[in-house]
Amino acid sequence: MAFKSALEIVNGVAKITLSGELDAAAAPAFRTDVEKAAAAKVKAVALLMKDLEYMASAGLRALVFAKQKMGTQTTIYMISLQENVKETITMTGFQNSVTFMDEYDAATIEGA
């Protein structure tokens, strides 16, 4: 399935909905949304990943970029990840730098 990234900013949180397959060819679209979120100086980034079926390291590099651009005070939430995608993130140690969440919890994310 073709990759899609959609950004909306709600209550100071960048919600990026990802779907399809995020490989190196698709990563620039994701990175564009990450850059927009960084420019908007959001307090948190919520990646809605329920329909993201595949993610290569190019997707992880966009996250490294996000963290470096936004600074440590910006929390990155990964919501409703598929098991295989989660395994990749865990394999690279990224789970120490992001917060996994089963469902979007507005009180926690937007209230932070």
Binding site: A56, S57, K67, E83
Partner: protein
């Protein structure tokens, strides 16, 4: 399976992924293992295309070949970029550091070697040859077809 030859551009990653998924299904790999195999091949193909061809200002193809035997599925990728052995950069030293302190890069090869049962490299006849091997589940080995 017939080998696949695609242009060395990022647009080819999708068709490479489809080829690997079909090979994994033919080998009887379960979904989790098939995903890891696809990830490994995708990362190696991406490195070939980005570093071997695009950044080096070279054009070339990527050949992908799947071979099945009773015990294993072997995916071989060949390219005509300058010789490069990915095993020279295995585990990035920074893997345990917070992501904001990391250099960008080195993750792809790490994911490859962590995801597969065996990874080999050789340079033969002016071609890089990356070889990725997955063990098949016991009992899946119907007569070899590839």
């Amino acid at each position: 399976m017939e080998p696949l030859t695609v242009p060395g551009t990022l647009d080819s990653l999708t068709i490479i992924g489809q080829y690997v998924n079909a090979a994994a299904a033919a080998a009887g790999l379960d979904k989790k293992i098939a995903y890891r195999l696809r990830l490994a091949v995708d990362e190696i193909a991406t490195n070939i295309i980005v570093h071997g061809y695009e950044e080096a200002g070279r054009a070339g193809d990527v050949l992908v070949r799947a071979a099945l035997d009773q015990a294993t599925l072997t995916i071989t990728l060949e390219d005509t970029a300058i010789p490069y052995d990915p095993r020279n950069r295995l585990r990035p030293e920074h893997i345990d550091r917070p992501i904001e302190d990391r250099p960008i890069g080195g993750l792809g090869v790490y994911l490859t070697t962590e995801s597969v049962d065996r990874f080999e490299y050789e340079y033969v006849g002016n071609r890089n040859r990356n070889i990725i091997i997955m063990n098949r589940p016991k009992g899946a080995g119907s007569p070899a077809t590839g």
